[in-house]
């Protein structure tokens, strides 16, 4: 193993551990806002993993969409719908047996997938940006699912606007 690979391994394990630890915090923290901020760690470490796989576009998109968009919305929702003036905001529902069962099943599925995959998908040392490939793919092979998703999102948006309007009328 060359020094280069060792370094990459170190970075990989560091990112993976951060991701795991943050995920653990997300699951166990009783403070809702802290949970949301732990999610930040998860998303960032996954973005790092994408970066390590040289999927640069995914890396940026992960941060842009999940960190800059969705996570902010989650935190907003938490802050707006709870007693934001009260710092001791907590998540009372601790893990029950069903949750543990579901988590165990999901984990088993993951292990199964990991074991049954024929081999590690080789990361070719591309220097070509991934953006073009993704773009071409989105507008050719995956066009239909992409458009269906867009329509779904549009429906969500309209629904959200409708719900928000109703409140104003009252």
């Amino acid at each position: 193993m060359s020094l280069n690979e060792i370094l990459l391994n170190i970075i990989f394990y560091a990112l993976a551990l951060t991701g795991l630890f943050s995920s653990f915090m997300v699951a166990t923290s009783t403070n809702m806002v802290r949970t949301a901020f732990s999610l930040l760690g998860v998303l960032f470490s996954f973005a790092g993993l994408y970066g390590l796989l040289r999927a640069d576009f995914l890396f940026a998109a992960q941060i842009l969409v999940y960190v800059g968009g969705i996570l902010v919305l989650i935190i907003f929702a938490i802050m707006l719908t709870h007693k934001i003036a009260n710092v001791n905001l907590s998540n009372e529902s601790t893990s029950s047996s069903t949750v543990i069962a579901v988590v165990c099943i999901l984990f088993a599925v993951l292990v199964f997938i990991a074991l049954t995959l024929p081999e590690y998908i080789k990361i070719n040392q591309r220097n070509k940006p991934l953006t073009e490939m993704i773009g071409n793919n989105l507008l050719s092979d995956s066009l239909l699912p992409f458009e269906i998703l867009s329509v779904l999102l549009l429906a969500c948006l309209i629904g959200a606007v409708y719900l928000a309007r109703k409140e104003v009328k009252e």
Binding site: L80, T81, H82, K83, I84, A85, L163, A164, K166, E167, E170
Partner: protein
């Protein structure tokens, strides 16, 4: 929506807060950015001025009146002096009368400059404040020349004024007017017709004339609602009837979207009042009669009786209600403080506005906490 509840937060704005213009505390209930209720809590600067008034002689109380509306202290001096003069049944010499008008109007300009500057500050424009400060500094220099004090003058006394003015003062005042007149246009360019400023202030905190009268608003706040009432015109004192000046009133300005009685009009009435004050100052400078400037009895000991006088100060009507029992000290010395009464409308118009609007409204009312708490 029934499912989602947003919580109302109770926020203490003040006593230490950048935009409360002193030690004012506003307890505001907010629903998100919306203010649903505002309760002003005053009294942090209470210095028992009225109680002190009952324990000192008439002369000795004048410096205390300085400390009420410390931004426009000349008017307070004038008010108490006029009240006691009325009790004594005397009048100040003509020269003193003219000089009183002169300094009061200068002080009104200085006070409106502060109102203009701090209002800009409240809506986020920092620079006009310093421009206002620059011009006000010149007026304060004039006052310093006059009586040595820059804010708490103790200049207008019972029976006249404490120091005569000289030619140098007149020249300097003329110099100031020459400098100041073009500045108004500068203010208008910089702030008054600035689009963001107009959007922030027009149609915000509208006070209807009926409501303004009912709440006892006076001064620019009342006139911005379109009510033509100015003590200087309607119940003249100190010879104000001799001077030519207009009473600026609030009005609808469709070009920019301002309506009578909104924050923009309250602001703009002050700008126009500065122009009118400058007119009066020019007229006083033209003919200052020669003669005595101070003529009071050795011992100020009015007969038993009571008197209520009012004058138009920068923030509205300052009334002095003095009851004498024939001794050297008044039995009751009550001040009608315009800021105190103007502020009482805030809970009414500060409802269901955004936090930023509340600040704009508070700024447009232009209060002085020294006067509210006395």
């Amino acid at each position: 929506m029934p499912g989602i509840k947003t919580q109302e937060i109770l926020v203490n704005m003040g006593p230490q807060h950048p935009s409360t213009h002193g030690v004012l505390r506003l307890v505001i209930k907010t629903d998100g950015e919306l203010v649903t209720e505002v309760t002003p809590i005053v009294g942090y600067l209470h210095r028992c001025a009225e109680k002190i008034g009952e324990n000192v002689t008439y002369d000795q109380w004048i410096p205390y009146t300085d400390r009420m509306d410390y931004i426009a202290a000349m008017g307070n001096n004038l008010g108490i002096s006029l009240a006691v003069e009325k009790l004594l049944g005397m009048e100040a010499p003509p020269r003193a009368q003219v000089i009183r008008v002169l300094v009061c109007e200068l002080n009104r300009v200085a006070s409106h400059l502060i109102a203009f500057g701090t209002f800009g500050l409240d809506v986020g424009a920092f620079t006009p404040f310093l421009y206002a400060w620059r011009e006000r500094e010149m007026i304060l220099n004039l006052f310093e020349m006059l009586c040595g004090a820059r804010m708490t003058f103790n200049y207008i006394r019972i029976g006249g004024i404490s120091f005569d003015i000289d030619q140098k003062f007149i020249d300097k005042t003329k110099e100031f007017i020459e400098w100041f007149e073009p500045r108004i246009k500068e203010y208008n360019d910089l702030l008054t017709y600035n689009r963001i400023f107009v959007e922030r202030t027009a149609k915000i905190g509208i006070i209807s004339p009926e409501r303004a009268i009912s709440y006892g608003l006076t001064g620019p706040n009342l006139r911005a609602s379109g009510v033509n009432f100015d003590v200087r015109k309607d119940f003249p004192y100190c010879g104000y009837e001799k001077y030519q000046f207009n009473i600026p009133l609030g009005r609808d300005v469709p070009e920019i979207g301002a309506v009578t009685g909104d924050c923009w009009n309250r602001y703009y009435v002050r700008i126009e009042e500065m122009i009118e004050s400058i007119k009066i100052i020019k007229q006083t400078l033209e003919n200052i009669p020669a003669g005595e400037y101070y003529d009071a009895p050795k011992k100020i000991k009015p007969k038993a009786g009571e008197v209520y006088t009012r004058i138009e100060n920068a923030r509205g009507i300052v009334g002095f209600y003095i009851i004498s029992d024939g001794s050297e000290k008044p039995v009751r010395a009550k001040v009608r403080a315009p800021s105190f009464i103007n502020l009482s409308i805030l809970p009414e118009i500060g409802k269901n506005v955004l936090v930023a609007d509340l600040i704009a409204i508070l700024g447009s009312i232009d209060i002085v906490l020294g006067e509210i708490d006395r």
